[in-house]
């Protein structure tokens, strides 16, 4: 599927915001004297420059002030000392977007939706291996299963649901049996996930949970600001352990196996130390993607560490590529596509893959016209 969207520059999106502000000002809803009430409010848009940690409130303040977006210890909380040293309230746009409805319907109607501890509704962004993707708004406390299966239409036909990742990079992965959990702040915490960003990424049997954990840890490790040592060094170490689980024999040092076993054993403890001793929420929640996958998909970790297999056939170095002789017609396509020169054989005779040279890139698998290449 190839789609072209019309020419669009990021600038124009900014112009919409600015136009909305101008319109509000023209109607007297913003400015020095709102609707003649003597109250004053200005709205100004500050564009972020791309840093995950700038979602943390003190880092956000530093970023607006023109500094590197690094958090600082709290207290003082921003409500006492925030932007330019003044008291500051920080809210998400979605929180603000709830205000008009809250005033229009009254607090009772708003609180009637949701659960005892989590009121109102929440917007989730559904994506991944799911039939219907997009933004959905549900009352707090809806079972996760309803969002995934009813609203999202479940995983594509012919595939089996495996996990749903909820809450963005600091969130966690939940398996099928946990889908009946109500989606609210308290319940998700009990299973090692969180509402967080409201992202819901659905995965089917094609996803490898070790790979997913490694993917998040790589992101967190790169996006950490580097100010405090537990987060900076700890996430790097977590990533190294996860990397070692996916490293094939070819790239492993002699002591690699020992490191791998030790790593798996120390994973949980390391994750907890980082949680307890990091300065900001990024480090404090860095354990979630690792511990949640480890908790619900331990067998998959063990297959990587001890059997050197990737059951979902994702981690390239753990895959064994072979050519079935009776299916191979010797067309040489695979040998020409292989970046590692791992395929040998002459024209019109069966080819062979030298396992020691293979990087597991999968090029030959997609290139072979006769389906002679098998992965295990």
């Amino acid at each position: 599927m190839l789609r072209r969207t019309p020419r669009r520059k990021p600038r124009s999106r900014r112009r919409w915001h600015e136009r909305a502000i101008t319109q509000a000002r023209d109607c007297g809803l913003l400015g020095a004297d709102i609707l003649g009430s003597g109250r004053r409010l200005e709205v100004k848009i500050k564009q972020g420059a791309g840093a995950f940690v700038c979602g943390e409130e003190t880092a956000l303040i530093h970023s607006i002030e023109g500094q590197r977006g690094m958090p600082r210890p709290r207290p003082p909380y921003p409500v006492t000392r925030g932007l330019f040293g003044r008291p500051t309230v920080i809210n998400n746009v979605e929180t603000m977007a709830n205000l008009p409805g809250l005033f229009r319907m009254g607090p009772e109607a708003f609180a009637a939706l949701g659960t005892a501890g989590s009121k109102g509704t929440k917007v989730f962004a559904l994506s991944g291996q799911i039939s219907r993707t997009g933004l959905v708004e549900v009352a707090m406390g809806e079972p996760l299963r309803r969002i995934v299966e009813e609203i999202g239409g479940g995983v594509p036909e012919g595939h089996v649901f495996k996990a749903v990742q909820i809450g963005g990079p600091s969130g966690g992965c939940l398996p099928g049996p946990q889908l009946d959990i109500p989606v609210d702040y308290e319940s998700l915490k009990t299973v090692g996930a969180m509402v967080g960003s409201g992202g819901l990424v659905v995965m089917d049997e094609r996803a490898c949970m070790v790979d997913v954990a490694r993917y998040f840890m790589d992101f967190i490790q790169r996006e950490g600001c580097g100010k405090c040592i537990p987060c900076r060094e700890g996430t790097r170490q977590l990533l190294a352990i996860l990397d070692s689980l996916g490293r094939g024999r070819r790239r492993e040092e002699p002591a690699g196996a020992l490191e791998r076993f030790q790593g798996l054993i120390s994973l949980e403890r390391l994750a907890r130390v980082i949680q307890d001793s990091s300065l900001c929420g990024l480090g404090q929640s860095a354990r979630n993607p690792v511990l949640s996958t480890l908790r619900w998909f331990r067998a998959e970790y063990e297959a990587h560490a001890y059997d050197r297999r990737c059951p979902a056939k994702v981690c390239p170095e753990l895959l064994l590529y072979e050519i079935e002789e009776d299916l191979c017609n010797g067309c040489t396509v695979c040998a020409r596509k292989c970046p590692a020169e791992a395929i040998v054989g002459s024209r019109k005779s069966p080819h062979h893959i030298i396992a020691e040279k293979c990087r597991g890139c999968g090029s030959c698998l997609t290139a072979c016209p006769s389906g002679a290449i098998k992965v295990s």
Partner: protein, 166 residues
């Protein structure tokens, strides 16, 4: 627009002008050149090292010119789950450059972003202003060939060059 003209739009010298200034300069120049960094520092009365420190902290800023076709690969979660790593590998293989680099002929540059914002269409890549949804590694060759063809079409013909020289 020149560096001076962008600076003139921000007569205020307070530190909070720094990031908007860098953003506008990058918009105009395509990247943050050394002279741009130095002039911003002078304008705001900051050491150039501070400006450099801020600019390198944020993912948005580039310090090399982009290619004529900047290829941006989304490596967000939804795209990862749908196979963006293989798409990136295919692009690296075809262009023979790493993310952050530009090809020698100046035609392509390769960038990685955390989320393009179209997760429902994953995996997504952007080539200039064109967004491609549901990209597979197999499509990469065709997308790049398309760009090369467009570049060749725009290239001045031999006759035009001779005419211009005459």
């Amino acid at each position: 627009m020149s560096i001076e003209q962008v600076l003139a739009r921000h007569p205020g010298r307070s530190r909070d002008h720094l990031i908007p200034l860098l953003q506008e300069l990058q918009q105009e120049l395509g990247f943050l050149s050394r002279p741009a960094i130095r002039q911003v520092a002078e304008h705001l009365g900051l050491p150039a090292s501070k400006v450099w420190g801020v600019a390198t902290f944020y993912n948005q800023f580039r310090f090399q010119p982009r290619g004529r076709f900047p290829v941006v690969v989304c490596r967000g979660t939804a795209c990862h789950v749908k196979g963006s790593a293989a798409v990136l590998a295919a692009l690296q293989h075809e262009l023979k450059i790493e993310p952050g680099a530009t090809t020698r002929d100046g035609l392509f540059s390769l960038e990685v972003v955390a989320c393009i914002g179209a997760c429902g269409l994953a995996p997504v890549i952007a080539v200039g202003d064109d967004y491609h949804a549901g990209v597979t590694p197999q499509q990469v060759g065709r997308i790049l060939a398309d760009c090369r063809r467009r570049a060749a079409e725009d290239a001045p013909t031999k006759a035009a060059v001779e005419e211009a020289l005459a």
